[in-house]
Symmetry: C2
């Protein structure tokens, strides 16, 4: 993390800008926002904005990267889990703790993340998010051999990452009615059993 800014004025201004960004993105999406409008709503001089950010794109990227960094930290806890533990969690219908923490964090920052992942959001944030997920999965998938796989590994990873993302999006859009733990469990079950079986379509699995 960067050295903390000392001046309270900087912290205050930055918080005002970020909060107003969240509000305005909820209303009209990133496209529709102008620096003019944002600074007016934040009750800040327009020139002050340019003291902190190059342009509105820069503001968005910095805000996004902060979130991605936090998520990256949370997911890196997956490295500490041994293959034996992985099997244990799956066979006991118990979600991984770091996945629960991921949903906890998303819930804490749901306002901004929801708009970023919504129809008026930023597709490059989706790409960033899928990328951290991909890295996490890649580390965990080192142990399995390619010969045993039914499909190309890169497609499998793309499939799973996107599915994760979709679940997160649906959870956010439907108002986060389920607890982080419940959502993690849903995710685990579909992943282990597969969509077909999770839907109750297949009694036996004779691929």
């Amino acid at each position: 993390m960067p050295e903390k800014p000392v001046d309270r004025r900087i912290i205050r201004t930055n918080r005002l800008i970020r909060d107003t960004l969240t509000e305005l993105m909820k209303e009209k999406g990133f496209e529709g926002i102008t620096v003019n409008e944002l600074t007016a709503k934040a009750d800040i001089n327009r020139g002050t904005f340019y003291l902190h950010y190059r342009d509105k794109q820069d503001l968005l990227e910095q805000s996004e990267d902060e979130i991605i960094n936090e998520i990256s930290k949370i997911l890196s806890a997956s490295q500490k889990i041994s293959p034996e533990e992985t099997l244990h969690y799956g066979s006991h219908d118990e979600p991984f703790p770091f996945i629960i923490k991921l949903f906890d964090y998303i819930k804490d920052n749901s306002s901004f993340i929801k708009t970023l992942l919504g129809p008026k959001g930023d597709p490059s944030f989706q790409v960033k998010l899928k990328e951290v997920l991909r890295k996490t999965l890649l580390k965990k998938s080192h142990q399995l051999r390619k010969e045993e796989m039914m499909v190309p590994p890169d497609y499998l990873i793309a499939y799973v990452c996107s599915a994760y993302l979709g679940l997160i999006q649906h959870w956010l859009e439907s108002g986060m009615k389920e607890s982080p733990r419940d959502i993690s469990l849903i995710l685990l079950r579909i992943n282990l059993s597969g969509p077909g079986k999770a839907a109750g379509l297949l009694n036996t699995s004779k691929s």
Copy 2:
């Protein structure tokens, strides 16, 4: 479909605008495009643009909706497939014909669709695309009973739709090396067996 425009000038102008939109989106994404630039590159008077579209947002939406309509047509063919046929395809490792046709269509329009689904694209297009997929899946899932499902049906659908989308995105981004048929097969296999089994993680399935 709307009554066909008769005047060749209209067709020509529209084609010029749409083609240039595709080109520019590839270069700099929708955000960075200006009507000024687009009409200059298309060698069209700027005023002419406003004869056809309200603004650049309108242009994007009309272009997107055309694609969504085509895809919707292709996917509606899924209704004609009986439950018996569904089982047949799955158990014979044979993808649905309409899914192959979907990938065929995407390949034919890959230039525009790729940018729309890419990091500089339009998140609302993703939403539209997932929505047609959702409708298709919903029709096919009428036959299965909720009691047998391991997870809430809306989450399962969100999961699968997103996974479809992710596979399409990865296929486009990696240069469409696989044939539409091969991709459809990959999709079918992961869906039926599930990510865990497709990865070769689980020998037996004791959920």
